[in-house]
Amino acid sequence: MNTTANTTPPGPPPPAAPGAAPRGAAAPAPGGPRRRLAAFLHRHAPLRLSLLLSAPMLWLGVAYLGALAAMFISALWRTDTFTGDLVRELTWANFQELLTAEVYRTIALRSVGVAAAVTLIDLVVAFPMAFAMAKLASPRAQRWLVIAVLTPLWASYLVKAYAWRVLLSADGLLGWGYGLTATIITLSYLWLPYMILPIYAGLERLPNSLLEAAGDLGARGWRTFRTVVWPLTFPAVVAGSIFTFSLSLGDYITVKIVGGRSQLIGNVVYDNIGAANNLPFAAAVATVPVLIMLAYLAAVRRTGALENL
């Protein structure tokens, strides 16, 4: 079924192309309405494109950006201290509390630290793996390795987190106990595929002849990596780090399972939605990771490394 046909508003039939109508005998007979519509859309490429994009644009506009806007607005409301009812008046009170209370600053910094550590660990583990997959493995082995990297994503998040809980418990295989380190290890494991896959894709696009050219001109492995591989795969690294960083920043389950008594931003949001029943404050806290990510993207953009390609 032609989906674009459904979304086209009813109206007068499309005008015939100039010069096509007269001398009817020679011209091929016009097809049915669907055919005419297809031809019309073919001639009007921008219209066709906007029709094709209308569903995703609608999704992006309403469901995604709309929700984000709703979050920002509700962060400016407050709850009545006694009744717990929502008061729809605009106030900066939530943000004031966020900025002044020592505990929130500590939690925010801790969360950023955890996210940065997870990103760094994933990068260090993922790059050699992605390189081996893209440049050293045979095409057959490559397919299997991609599947091997993807399989953990098919298992439930909770199952994996609890598996690490068992591993890390005092009488478990590793026995390191719970806490921030345990959280970082578990999150690194959980988000590793999201770092490997973009870097793998980036390295796949990097022609082998560039690596050979560097070697041909006298560069050894490390210099080739530093001057050719890294600059050309940096955008892929950024893509991967956005995944690992933002996923870690938003997490509140792993830290509950293996984090001991540590709290991250996600826990504060969760507790304010649930136990504390303070939705506006939860929304205010939730804007923090969004702002951190925006700052991160701006910083990456400023390096100019993304314009290299």
Binding site: S209, E212, G215, D216, L217, G218, R223, V228, P231, L232
Partner: protein
Amino acid sequence: MSDPAVRLSGLRKSFGAVHAVTGVDLDIADGEFFAMLGPSGSGKTTVLRMIAGFETPTSGTVELGGADVTRLAPFERDVNTVFQDYALFPHMSVLDNVEYGLRVKRVPRAERRERALAALASVRLEGYERRRPGQLSGGQRQRVALARALVNRPRVLLLDEPLGALDLKLREEMQVELKSIQREVGITFLFVTHDQEEALTMSDRVAVFNEGRVEQVGTPAEIYERPSSAFVAGFVGTSNLISGEAAQAVLGKEGTFSVRPEKLRVTGLGEPVDGAEHSATGTVSEVVYAGPATRFVVELDAGGRLIALQQNLQVSSMDVMSLRGTRVRLVWHRRHEFAIVS
């Protein structure tokens, strides 16, 4: 006698069940412009890659200037490569690309800059230093790749179909230019191509490759005038073979023989034939007028067919076209026919 710039001995390379190179022995002298000519898949690139160090031979050795480098990494060999796809670093300027090899070798900044600019000048790319490779045309990229390799003054420069991606006119210009650059710098050029005309016009010597081995090595004239096998005769120019019963009838000899099309004279049946000449009668089945010359396809009465190329000195297309279907005699000097080893 000094050692050859490149010596390949018993070189073989297999990729699993694919035998890409099946025994190559070659000596390439210092300062030579040497072409490896052969159809696609005949193993030329693989040989070049083994000389550069990108592939390790299955067996055999690679010597550069008398030293065995078979097991050395690319960065340990005194050769540079102009890649078929140029392999310019897209994130660096033209100047940074050309300076790359010098920077790796820690050549001081001032000398580095001077040599890079001189290399760019030698390929006529002054003023393009700040551009990125993506902002250059195919021919300009090709010249940057050349400058990037030449600036290191390697013992041997390896070029893998360097003109393959250029259009005809630019390719012809670059053929002349490459040749004059080589004469200027005096570096050994080892050059891969599947274009027989390119190989013949540019090189001092040619090795003709077929199915992973060298069929014949020689000067362009030797390769063209005296092909040693039916394959070489066919790949370099038009083969024009006379064999079997036709050879018996026309030449009075056993075997397979070849005559180049331009050595044949198309005459009337009654023309006298010199004692030093051979001739064969036949019917013109096809006439192709190509401006300066005309190509006649003649079906021999004795069997087989020969192609004759005649300069259009006096005649016009009208004249030659009327020859189709007529009976003619092809005449050639005996020294222009040669036996082919089958």
